[in-house]
């Protein structure tokens, strides 16, 4: 039963992603993107990564989608649904992305996945916190610095001139 559900969630993530890319109205795109990211969070929960699933819902659906909707509404004149949203390279782009997909698929089926023990025990939140503070302390600090830089940069770029 849960195999069936995870298949549905995975296919749903792809279908919602396709709708995000193809939708004429950019606001609808944002809503489809939210559903797609929610399905990805479902995949994380299935793969025993509860922490990442919760972070995905909080950061993406709570934060980033809200930001996207703000940006669409602040530039609303242009988010009008009568305006063409795709450029004239649709056919060429489709060919390129199908080619990239075929390449990835070929690599995927030719690679023998040396799967160890499927269903290895769940990594607890405590262990993730510990390894963030010990083995991965340097990248963690760099991420904090990058977040600070992004915050300052966003304020500087976004402020209106007097």
């Amino acid at each position: 039963m849960d195999t069936f559900i995870i298949y549905m969630i995975g296919i749903g993530a792809c279908v919602f992603a396709l709708l995000t890319v193809l939708s004429r109205d950019i606001f609808h795109s944002a809503v489809w993107l939210a559903l797609s990211l929610l399905s990805v969070a479902g995949i994380y929960f299935y793969l025993d990564a509860e922490f990442l699933g919760i972070i995905q819902v909080l950061v993406y659906i709570g934060g980033i989608i809200t930001l996207f909707i703000f940006a669409i509404k602040l530039t609303a004149k242009i988010g009008d649904k009568t305006i063409l949203q795709a450029n004239r390279q649709t056919l060429a782009s489709a060919l390129v992305s199908i080619a990239v997909f075929c390449l990835l698929f070929k690599i995927m089926i030719s690679h023998p996945w040396a799967v160890g023990t499927p269903g290895a025990e769940m990594v607890s939140l405590k262990e993730i916190g510990k390894s963030l503070m010990t083995a991965y302390a340097l990248p963690f600090e760099f991420i904090s610095l990058a977040l600070l830089a992004a915050m300052v940069g966003a304020i500087v770029i976004g402020k209106t001139k007097k």
Binding site: I6, Y7, G10, I11, A13, C14, A17, T20, V21, I26, S29, L33, S36, L37, V40, I43, L47, A49, F51, L52, I55, Y60, I64, L67, F68, F70, A71, I72, L74, I78, Q85, A86, N87, Q89, A92, S93, V96, S97, V100, F101, L104, F105, M108, W113, V115, G116, T117, P118, G119, A120, V123, I128, S131, Y136, I143, A146, L147, M151, A154, I157
Partner: protein, 100 residues
């Protein structure tokens, strides 16, 4: 337990869809959305490898990728707002200031 192929396959499909979106969208916000799709596709792979190969590095890396995605979309959307203020447009065709 499903085999790892399913998750890698889903990830490849999502990556290709995101690539298609980046190439076709005229709206910069749409391009940013496609970038989020691509980063999520990479994340699915990382979490699946964490699950099937039993190392906690996958989750940590996925966490870092989510942080980078947040940074990218925040700065990108602020740039969209700033460009909209000065050029009254958010379409990629209209941004030709740096073309020779």
């Amino acid at each position: 337990m499903i085999s790892i192929d399913f998750f890698v396959f889903i990830s490849a499909v999502m990556f290709s869809i995101g690539l298609f979106g980046i190439l076709t969208r005229r709206n910069v916000v749409g391009v940013l959305m496609s970038i989020e799709l691509i980063l999520n596709a990479a994340n699915i792979n990382l979490v699946a490898f964490h699950k099937y190969f039993g190392s906690d590095a996958g989750q940590i890396f996925a966490f870092f990728v989510i942080c980078i995605a947040a940074i990218g979309s925040v700065v990108g959307l602020v740039l969209v707002i700033a460009i909209y203020r000065s050029r009254e447009s958010i379409f990629t065709d209209d941004f030709d200031l740096m073309k020779w």
